[in-house]
């Protein structure tokens, strides 16, 4: 075992650092604060610009084929770039859905014409994508979605509502799953489309979360027309295409950003309990040691995954550990930071609350981390079914035509 780059990896890392040094400042120690805020127009502009800069230098779509603007590089190189980029102050990315998820899905299921049309503009930061999957009545049970797509000549006509859509208000395109046949069991009646967000009939509303910010949108679709050549995969194959996309999502959604063990450690060093440093208290140590060991465990689990990459193996469903553990850890650390602050814990004023009220902010956004991109419960199912090979839960809607599935208490 070693932490050393191979000569090829070291050369690539040096190239990456030279590029990053030329374009962005290194994060300072104070950079470990964050306020959950909405992206404004300027953020989006800077994000596009940074994406374009990376793409021009060959550092976007590192493991994409060269003919689509990529580098023909390895997953290991992509991981090296991501790890290095994290050390620098760069604009927040609005390209996770497009470059990270939509385009890999189009490359797997789309025609050459679709790939040629969409790959480069996404990679070079010209077009932003969003994911139109979840609905008010279809979250974990995504295949239960009800947005309808009805064939009309060369078009499909879409009616329905999507929710929890990041970036919809400034996206040019969306990946849409809709129901094309309600008379067959739910997974069999879905079809996948590319939706131009400028099409008439689309209304995007911001959705305010418990944290007070609006990072997500609701998208209402009324008689929205999609040309059939924007269908991805066969009619009725939408679930298969969606699974490709979700596999890419779990890969892009890694750890939950937020105050981590070093921040709660720093806080415990500055506070006192009964006149002694809080960090000397056995109860405090018991709590923090647990998170420390989890953080270390996640860090080295990522290195094990990277090793699998470097040996040419794909990451498996065991990758689900990262989000499952880090989201709950974030929620617990946030709550404990507030508890350690005692009587002032409930104050969010940044002049009083340490780290720009990061613990308080995180308390409010952590519940979302445990839900987005697969709930804790769904992730446990994935681990149980795909890693431990346990059978699926018995389903009341199995083999039942979608339009005969019960939807409420009667």
């Amino acid at each position: 075992m070693d932490f050393n780059d191979t000569p090829e990896e070291a050369a690539f890392r040096a190239e990456v650092r030279a590029f990053l040094d030329a374009h962005a400042p290194l994060k300072s120690a104070e950079a470990r604060t964050y306020r959950s805020r909405e992206l404004n127009a300027e953020d989006v502009r800077l994000s596009r610009q940074w994406q374009a800069t990376k793409a021009a230098a060959g550092f976007a779509g590192i493991h994409w084929p060269r003919k689509y603007g990529g580098r023909d590089g390895t997953q290991m190189q992509a991981a090296i770039f991501a790890a290095e980029e994290e050390r620098y102050v760069v604009p927040p990315s609005v390209f996770n859905q497009g470059v990270g998820m939509a385009l890999p899905t189009i490359m797997t299921h789309g025609t050459d014409a679709l790939i040629d049309r969409y790959a480069r503009p996404a990679l070079f930061g010209e077009e932003v994508w969003c994911q139109l999957f979840s609905e008010p009545a279809a979250g974990s049970d995504l295949a239960g979605l009800r947005t309808r797509a009805v064939r009309d000549g060369a078009d499909w006509v879409i009616n329905g509502q999507k929710v929890w859509t990041s970036n919809a208000h400034f996206s040019q395109f969306g990946m849409l799953v809709a129901r094309t046949d309600p008379t067959v069991p739910k997974h069999a009646g879905l079809t996948f489309f590319i939706l131009d967000m400028a099409t008439p009939g689309i209304e995007v509303r911001r959705l305010k979360q418990i944290s007070g910010t609006a990072n997500f949108c609701e998208v209402f679709l009324t008689d929205v027309r999609i040309p059939d050549h924007h269908r991805l995969g066969g009619v009725g194959d939408g679930w298969k295409v969606a699974l490709t996309m979700l596999a890419n999502e779990r890969f892009t959604v890694g750890k939950a950003e937020g105050p981590d063990v070093e921040d709660i450690l720093a806080l415990a060093r500055t506070l006192t309990i009964d006149g002694r440093p809080a960090i000397d208290d056995a109860c405090v140590r018991e709590k923090i040691a647990r998170w420390y060991v989890q953080s270390e465990g996640l860090k080295y689990t990522r290195l094990r995954t990277q090793t699998a990459f470097s040996r040419g193996r794909a990451p498996g469903p065991e990758n689900s550990i990262g989000k499952l553990v880090s989201a709950t850890k974030l929620q617990e650390i946030a709550a404990y930071g507030i508890e350690l602050l005692g009587q002032a814990g409930a104050v969010m004023d940044t002049e009083v609350a340490p780290l720009n009220a990061w613990f308080q902010e995180a308390l409010l956004y952590a519940p979302g981390k445990r839900i987005a991109g697969g709930t804790d419960e769904i992730l446990r199912n994935i681990i149980a079914e795909r890693v431990l090979k346990m059978p699926g839960e018995m389903r009341a809607d199995k083999d039942v035509p979608f339009n005969q599935i019960p939807t409420s208490r009667r």
Binding site: M1, F3, E296, L298, E377, L388, M390
Partner: protein, 366 residues
């Protein structure tokens, strides 16, 4: 970067698993349930013949010198298969003490015999209840003679070499080499949680004791425990893995309400949580393996993390394995309690979670 076992060690792991699965079929350990702990001497000889006991012992002392990475792998498999042999006492503690602190003459006298399996080792630190520490060591060596008492001393039965922590006339703690057959030592077998590993109390009355010259002061002993903590962590990860496999296998076969209980989320989520705990413990242990193999400055921190994670993971897996088995898991006949007993034993053997949390915070504060 390479954060996995080498291809050589991975290939060896397959051989180890095949051998242990063949040699220790399910139920093989049951003899100890009725007859009490005893060492399987034939198995120990076979393990020696395959070179498993000399992995960390240099070639000049009769070992293969392959290093600690291979021993970590072996520790995991020992944890999974529960062979009734003094593996940890001999290799993680006695051999490590000699390698770290012994004189050339002591190494030459003992290491070849540990490597070839003709001598097993035991380690005596504890003097009753309490966590490891200099304050707990009252055994005294004066003019080369040890007096005092130690308990528990695991795997003392049949051991040809005993390493004892004691203080000298000036109050300095250190490690001493004792011949367990020397006059002046009385031993009494103790009832233990673990049914396959016996423990004894030992009384020493002016027993000849030879210092390990490198082991001077508590920091030396703490360093030995750091090294052992990584190896015990692998053993615990192996035990957690095995308990999870037992629980998963049972849940697939056991039907209730017309379906396998493995299809129920109450069971699936429980076992997913065990998987996560065991894998996080494994990743911490890997960092420990790296630090141990490289003798890195990070070893104390890596060892403490590995130890804390492994204690929790094995105990969770062992506890919930019984729960998954239901009433069947609570019977003497089911093997669940072997892991339950072993997990509790390993949780305290070189100090419990509280001790290792303090060790971790000593490092984080530094």
């Amino acid at each position: 970067m390479n954060f996995d076992f080498s291809d050589d060690v991975t290939a060896m792991r397959r051989e180890v698993q095949a051998f242990l699965a063949d040699r220790l079929p399910v139920g093989a350990v049951r003899q100890f349930l009725e007859n009490g702990p005893a060492v399987d001497g034939a198995l120990w000889a076979e393990m020696a013949a395959m070179g498993w006991l000399g992995l960390t012992i240099p070639e000049e002392y009769g070992g293969s010198g392959l290093g600690h990475e291979a021993l970590c792998m072996l520790a995991e498999e020992v944890g999974a298969f529960l062979p009734p042999v003094p593996f940890a006492s001999t290799l993680y503690l006695a051999a490590e003490a000699l390698l770290g602190f012994g004189s050339d003459a002591q190494k030459a006298a003992w290491l070849p015999r540990l490597a070839d399996g003709s001598v097993t080792g035991a380690f005596a630190l504890a003097e009753g209840a309490g966590e490891p520490g200099a304050d707990g060591i009252r055994a005294l060596v004066e003019q080369g003679r040890l007096s005092g008492s130690k308990a528990p001393v695991f795997d003392l039965d049949g051991a040809g070499l005993l390493i004892v922590a004691a203080r000298d006339a000036a109050g300095q703690v250190g490690l001493y080499l004792i011949d367990p057959a020397a006059p002046g030592m009385e031993r009494r077998k103790l009832r233990t949680l673990d049914l396959a590993h016996g423990a004894w109390s030992a009384e020493f009355h002016d027993v000849a004791a030879e210092p390990l010259p490198g082991a001077v002061g508590w920091p030396a002993i703490a360093r030995l425990l750091d090294r052992a903590a990584v190896l015990f962590a692998f053993e615990q990860v192996g035990g957690g893995r095995a308990a999870l496999e037992m629980a998963t296998s049972f849940a697939m076969d056991r039907f209730a309400f017309g379906r396998p209980i493995a299809s129920m989320q109450a069971i699936k989520h429980k076992l997913a949580d065990i998987y996560v705990a065991v894998e996080l413990a494994r990743s911490n242990a890997y960092f420990g393996a790296w630090a141990l193999h490289e003798d890195a400055a990070e070893l104390p921190r890596a060892a403490a993390s590995a130890r804390i994670a492994a204690i929790d993971a094995y105990q969770l897996a062992a506890r919930e394995n019984i729960q998954t088995h239901g009433g069947m898991g609570f019977t003497w006949e089911a093997d669940c309690h072997l892991h339950y007993r072993r997990a509790a034993t390993l949780a305290g053997i070189i100090g419990g979670a509280r001790h290792w949390r303090d060790r971790l915070f000593d490092q984080l504060a530094a």
